[in-house]
Symmetry: C2
Subunit: 597 residues, 2 copies
């Protein structure tokens, strides 16, 4: 394996050969995915950076890597300062940096299949100020020098049956066709992988932890569709499931298909489609209707079948979590447990159900100070023992055919300090404030976010992440468009009105760098709330996740009577929902763990 210095040198040589004075390397793939297949992990190959968000720019003499506040420490440990300068976004944008550092009149390359049209527009304007030019490449120069680049996945599609999806693919296409009629458009481009999986009721395995397949689709105003996916992935069962209304083409044919849309009005989502798609439609002479992907809201708003599936998945997942928490409570004080052993055991317990398709993300198993790293991933190098008188944080989830789960529990090993109990109780108060919120229809997630922070703010504390993200149905564990987070934060979605049927996480936290981390995360469902005398149509949350919250970490004096009542009622529900799936000794444990405060 070549060194990172060698890789950078090879890329620079390739840029020179391609007559480019620089190149921009984002983290995403041709579908603007958050998690990308190994074939597309160009940023990591070039720099060594393993975070989930970042980008880089390479110039002949300089190179810079751009990450947000979550990755300030990680980038310094993974990427060599000998060759790379570290830049913080949003303080310094790539466009700003290029304006400072690119040579006058420089030609800076970018891969139009990896950037939004909006990004291209802004970067072009910024470079124009110095007479420099942003140049779309036909072939990504990294691919040209990446010798051992993994092949794209060949994982087969599987059918996601109507008994789990709650609606047939034909019905979904018909709804999109009706929507196209209202937009006065002939076809919709679907480029986001979860949009495609949802629309066709199929799942794939091309991206780790997210059951999607690399594909594009066009849905037409007559209700038929063209699906662009590697033919070898589509077996006879899937073809039959797709039916006559879906024409299957090779994924590589997508660009050619766009070229044939001359004179058509085509709906394309600027947030979910790369610049190359817009370029191809412009070139073809199609009229672009820039509008949100029509599957985004129907996918976010779960139907009754999906909600029932989520409940089943949660009961199953909660049983694994309960057995895990019991095991931690018994084994950790004996010594010998560490973060990796713990996460391995948790995965094994989830697999025992026989229903686990995959984890929904890499488990965050953080002991003591590692719990304070929000996006921590344990490795042999960082692995810490679970020590007495410390806190252990575990954030994990499962992909089941009937639902995607995501849960965080923070537990005491030995005796927690008064400060730990104070902080944990404040996080719990924030969690309860979200769980019990009632709000009028039309309320946005951003309007609820501060409820979760107020008990921490009262003590001069806070947490540097959003309070909740959307979750898919056997799809992405981070699914938009809704989110509980302040508007203006780096994570978009806080301005989306919440609607009954949406699933979100409720996960306030507190992190003391170098000491410990706390997070309490359940999934919640947005539901209609009947309130006597109400003048508005009201919504609220129903908690979907059931697992004990560690009572040893609670300072009862900080809780109001109604907060205590919520916790006791929640714990009674945990016993009722999860208890039946447990063996007798585990059931005795959960009953004790869920005793009233």
């Amino acid at each position: 394996m070549s060194s990172y210095a060698d890789r950078l040198a090879a890329l620079r040589a390739q840029l020179a050969a391609d007559r480019l004075d620089g190149f921009v390397v984002p983290l995403t793939d041709e579908h603007m995915s958050e998690y990308v297949g190994s074939y597309a992990q160009r940023l990591q190959w070039l720099t060594g950076f393993e975070g989930s968000a970042g980008s880089a720019v390479v110039l002949p003499e300089e190179a810079a890597i751009f990450v947000d506040g979550r990755y300030t420490l990680q980038v310094r440990s993974q990427v060599s300062a000998d060759h790379w300068s570290y830049q913080s976004v949003p303080e310094t944008s790539i466009a700003d940096w290029l304006k400072e550092h690119a040579a006058d009149g420089a030609r800076i390359g970018y891969d139009p299949w990896l950037h939004s049209r909006d990004w291209v527009k802004k970067a072009t304007e910024a470079l124009a100020a110095k007479g420099a030019e942003l140049v779309a490449v036909r072939r990504n120069p990294i691919d040209a020098v990446w010798d051992d680049r993994p092949a794209a996945s060949v994982a087969k599609l599987i059918v996601h049956p109507e008994k789990l999806a709650g609606q047939s693919g034909a019905d979904k296409r018909q709804k999109i066709a009706e929507w196209l009629g209202k937009q006065d458009a002939d076809a919709a481009v679907l480029a986001a992988l979860d949009s495609i999986a949802w629309t066709f009721n199929v799942r794939g395995a091309d991206v780790s932890h997210t059951p999607v397949a690399l594909a594009y689709a066009l849905v037409n105003s007559d209700g038929t569709a063209d699906l662009f996916v590697a033919g070898e992935k589509v077996d006879a069962e899937v073809r039959q499931h797709l039916g006559n209304g879906v024409r299957v083409h090779e994924r590589a044919e997508f660009e050619n298909a766009l070229a044939e849309l001359k004179g058509k009005r085509v709906a394309v989502d600027p947030e979910r489609s790369v610049a190359a798609i817009f370029d191809a439609l412009d070139k073809a002479g199609a009229t672009i209707v820039p509008v949100r992907d029509p599957t985004v809201l129907p996918r976010a708003i779960k139907n009754e079948v999906e909600i029932a599936g989520q409940r089943s998945a949660q009961a199953r997942d909660g049983a694994a979590i309960a057995r895990f928490l019991k095991w931690i409570g018994e084994e950790a004080p004996k010594g010998g447990l560490d973060e990796l052993k713990a996460s391995d055991h948790l995965e094994a317990l989830r697999r025992e159900s026989g229903m686990l398709k995959d984890l929904s993300f890499d488990t965050i198993s953080g002991s003591g100070p590692n719990g304070a790293i929000v996006h921590y991933r344990a490795s042999e190098a960082t692995n810490r023992p679970l020590e007495m008188n410390s806190i252990y944080l575990v954030d994990s989830g499962g992909q089941y055919a009937d639902g995607t789960t995501d849960i965080t529990r923070t537990v005491a090993i030995g005796t927690p300090s008064d400060e730990m109990r104070d902080r944990f109780t404040r996080v719990l108060k924030g969690h309860i404030a979200i769980a019990t919120a009632r709000f009028p229809k039309g309320t946005r997630g951003s309007q609820l976010d501060s409820f979760a922070r107020r008990p921490l703010w009262d003590a001069g504390l806070d947490y540097a992440h959003g309070t909740g993200h959307g979750v898919g149905s056997f799809l992405s564990v981070h699914e938009g468009p809704q989110r509980i987070s302040p508007v203006g934060s780096s994570q978009s979605g806080g301005d989306e009105p919440l609607a009954a049927g949406m699933i979100l996480s409720n996960e306030p936290g507190y992190y003391k760098a170098g000491e410990y981390g706390i997070r309490i995360e359940n999934l919640v469902l947005v539901v209609e709330r009947e309130i006597k005398g109400a003048e508005k149509e009201m919504l609220g949350f129903e908690t979907l996740t059931f697992a004990p919250i560690d009572r040893r970490l609670i300072d009862r004096n900080l809780l109001s009577d109604s907060e205590i009542a919520w916790l006791d009622s929640y714990h009674a529900d945990v016993v009722e929902k999860v208890g039946p799936g447990l063996a007798p000794e585990d059931r005795a444990w959960i009953e004790a763990a869920c005793a009233p405060l």
Copy 2:
């Protein structure tokens, strides 16, 4: 006085003479003011509409008036449906409506001194879709047919002395000059009237209730300035106060002065400057630096002298309010009081201090159902008696040389119903939630807004306005940029980070249409908060307004212990701050009104 039908006909004849196929009539003036002088009240002259926000479009055969939800009822009572169609914003924009209703290829006129550049751009694009054109007029066609149009005010400028402003005009100009250096700009255009009054430490009387003068200014990078204002308004004292660093020109010379800025880099605020200013600078060959008016933040962040002045004004104003509330409590049950008598008496009490310069806005004096009209203004036609067993709402404020006040109290006449007490107590809980909030530096007003709504949301209720607006120092009672309101609401400012020294209102409410209205409004100052063990720099609010909150409207059972403690402590402060300014019998009343709950 001509009829509205005659006025509309006259305007249409003028448009035909000017070869225009339509004309857009906004409510603002050449400074994008919220309140405008009588000379500029073109929308009201043309349509009869007296609300504070709206606009109209006149076509040869059709005319439409556009208002937001606050004015849905008012527009129907004031503007004739025979000649006007009613349109709701933001649902229907002027641009959208023109797209539907203007003839193909039509020439639609607009006055470039009354619209933002952004509005012109969007409307131009919308019209282009039908080959129609937006045409800037040289002379406003309404002015051509408005025979009895009031002359512009000739009120003299007065000095706002440094002992009240806390900083000299020369210092303020020097700070702007330093800021211009950082922007690499030669001059800043000041077009907002309160920006000019603040910068030069002068006040005027050209706009009702806001002590500003019609003027423009250019502040230059050498710290000098050019002030464009009618010469007759500037007496020798003001000239001496302005000093040698300020050149005074006629206001009418402003456009010519812009024409001389060829080659200069000029900072202009797109939100606070009309399109004509941009047009003139473009034509002159100046380079426009679009950036927020540099006085906006320093004006919003009050200095120690302004804060001390605000405290003095509040004690004085609170004494008038206390005497008023005592009077209402004694007189209303006897019968014979009505909304107009009440507001007249309140103004008289404020004037007795000898310090009142003006009201800070038209008093909202709402009895029973009129209290439910958020922007109610009593008239002979609407005037209601203050009846037994009802609620009376009064929202009022004074302009004093040392500070601008704004307070709302809601009081029971006779015996309030259980529902009224429930609603009032929920509004009070929301008010206390804002008053006691602590939050990290950088927090935006939008992040606090829901704290005020939650007690109402719990009962399925809400209010259809923001929770708080900024307030000036002997300036506008609605002063940006900060605001406590949801992002995405019709009122901007919720996304502005709060900073120590800003003054805002805290005014949740509840309105039951046709029955009663409740609002509890105090002004609050953003202050730094020391919290033991805090990990963040924290802010909070100090309440500035002191007047009794009607204990007869409170349901004690709905309040927590800490809410009761806040109210008792607040009432003790009321007695301490306001009591010393009262006569003995008034002092006895306030002590009883402020007794612990």
